[in-house]
Symmetry: C2
Subunit: 379 residues, 2 copies
């Protein structure tokens, strides 16, 4: 069953006539997920419950979309437009239906809302309501969830491959990173290696010294110092991504407090790992991880101020939600979901340590696709 | 006058209390434009007409935003949230005003609409309407236009620098590109060079042979053949981007029809160049370019099926609109706008040629920041 057929199945459950993806300048990653090619100009993908799929794309991009769909074995009619003036006429028959799903989120300010499905821009949403005032537009959250949260065997195979390739590259870091290089030099070299195989799944975070205390530090031109070096990066090959963080020590003899924190974090991560299992509440790994940190004397509320992990897949932050002690109990893991497991401890103006591995949720036991070193790697 | 002050000025003209940018997972590039740092998690930037600017960001990203604003000399209060449950309470006093600008577009299906300002996701737009039902939300298009369409002297200086750096890298291509490398190998090497200085301003298009007939070809693992090699790429350093296309011939003795088309395109581009001047209708360069192609025997409607260029700046596709023969006459160039000038000729299943340079609109004459070779470069 291909993605279009799977979406049709969910559409029928929802009583929907179709699912419309509107993508402008890469605003909706679900476009590439469905058609297998990056189309940058304004385009529309209509997955029809009855199988009469339609794509509306700008003239210069339509042929490559047609070829990509053919390669994927998806039958869809591709309409090409030369000028935006044609859009009303092309789109009106597509959306003048009873019920059409669009990629908008509901209650996005609530952690229990469907913000994860909120891709359509407001102007586009309003334009569809205006074009088809009789149509009921519903959130496509259930479709996006069904297609992307639980991974297929092929996707899991690709995940293992991309993780293996990433680890092989990360393992070379101590060979070529030197004091005096900039954070940006390391990012460039790392992403160059990624690009030979695929592309970076996000902009690598390379953080030296106190920069590592910002979990989302923007890689800079600062030179690598003796001390902490945190590298958070990922690779994407075809349709699967990795997302891995390693915290190194540049120099010999890392101080006692660094080793102690690294070790506590390593153990806390292992404690969490046991709870990435089918049917387990998503807050449990984080709660257990934080319990361990507390037992080791760390004020986790102050020092570990982000979630434990997030869904991973087609993109680094994939559909499937976060793993955090704040996730309501009722949200549970499902077999073959993929998550990062990435606890961190951060001391402002001093350093941060984060250890991040990628995990497949299993029936009684998860699969640790990557495994960080038990002791800090020295550079 | 910094960007916040400039935005305040436009806000006063619009009678607006403030401008709210809502950015989730990099959905709105105006966020980095304003605060100078990439914040990935859900965050809010409120530029207040009265100068009491406010930022709401997740706990783990708030400190780096604070530091970036300080560096830029912008005074803003940064509120950090730990859980989405706090957002209603934090945002309500910010948007409960008379009139607030949001980044949504109006009439986005019309070429004369403000789709260029359509960044906010639908769910977020609806959440603001729900949170502050008495507030009038207006499109921020005039603010975004005022801040980004016409470039400042500093931005133009940065543009010249980034173009110079890009050209220096592109000029090395014939030295290292070989038959047998893949398109992806070339992209990787090119972007590695870009990343040493900044980062790619978009994913490079490397197209060998018939792939060059797709203007937005997705760089693949295909090996470079003898014949056409089209490379469309760009570099971003700090806050300015380049976007340049070169079409090479791999091998000796390019065929007559290739040289003839390359030359006609080169001339047509030069013809267009003269019309990138203050006060000139934006359709004129494209009309003149197409006239020349027709005179040289090319069916431009069939072979040149995209616009002549687009605004360039903070991002490769910047605010400031397109340059096309279809743009209504009333839209005119303004001094210090920056555009690409990139005519192309494409023969499906055979090859495509595109020559793209970057241009600053001048009073009576434009500044050609980059200049493609008059004759095809051989590799």
């Amino acid at each position: 069953m291909n993605k279009f057929e799977k979406a049709q199945e969910v559409l029928r459950e929802l009583g929907g006539d179709g699912w419309l993806i509107i993508c402008v300048e890469d605003s909706d990653i679900n476009s590439r997920f469905m058609i297998g090619v990056e189309s940058h100009a304004r385009h529309y993908i209509y997955v029809a419950a009855d199988g009469n799929h339609k794509i509306v794309a700008v003239e210069m991009e339509a042929p490559m979309i047609e070829r990509s769909l053919k390669k994927k074995g998806v039958k869809a009619e591709v309409f090409s437009y030369k000028s935006m003036k044609e859009l009303d006429g092309l789109l009106s028959p597509i959306v003048t239906k009873t019920r059409v799903a669009l990629n908008f989120g509901e209650n996005v300010l609530s952690p229990e809302g469907t913000g994860f499905a909120d891709f359509i821009n407001a102007g586009d949403y309003l334009s569809m309501k205006k074009l088809a005032p009789q149509t009921e537009f519903i959130s496509a959250a259930p479709i996006i969830g069904a297609l992307r949260a639980v991974k297929t065997p092929d996707e899991l195979k690709d995940l293992r491959n991309v993780c293996k390739a990433t680890i092989e590259i990360l393992e070379t870091i101590p060979d070529w990173v030197k004091v005096g290089m900039t954070e940006n030099d390391i990012k460039a070299k790392l992403e160059y290696e990624y690009m030979k195989l695929g592309k970076p799944s996000f902009g690598s975070i390379v953080a030296t010294g106190a920069h590592s205390a910002d979990p989302h530090h923007n890689t800079s031109l600062k030179k690598i110092e003796q001390g902490v070096l945190l590298i958070d990066s990922g690779l994407q090959i075809d349709e699967m991504s990795s997302d891995i963080t390693r915290t190194f020590w540049v120099g010999s003899n890392p101080p006692e407090d660094f080793i102690k924190a690294y070790t506590a974090l390593y153990e806390a991560k292992n404690v969490a790992t046991d709870y990435f299992t089918d049917g387990t509440p998503k807050n449990l790994p984080a709660l257990k991880c934080r319990e361990h940190l507390t037992a080791k004397g760390y004020d986790h509320e102050k020092l570990f101020f982000h979630g434990l992990g997030h869904s991973l897949g087609f993109v680094a932050h994939d559909i499937g939600g976060g793993v955090s002690w704040k996730v309501p109990e009722k949200y549970k893991f499902k077999e073959n979901m993929v998550f990062t497991n990435e606890p961190g401890l951060y001391w402002r103006d001093k350093w941060g340590i984060r250890l991040e591995d990628d995990i497949i949720v299993g029936k009684g036991k998860c699969e640790q696709v990557t495994k960080v070193s038990k002791i800090p790697i020295l550079i």
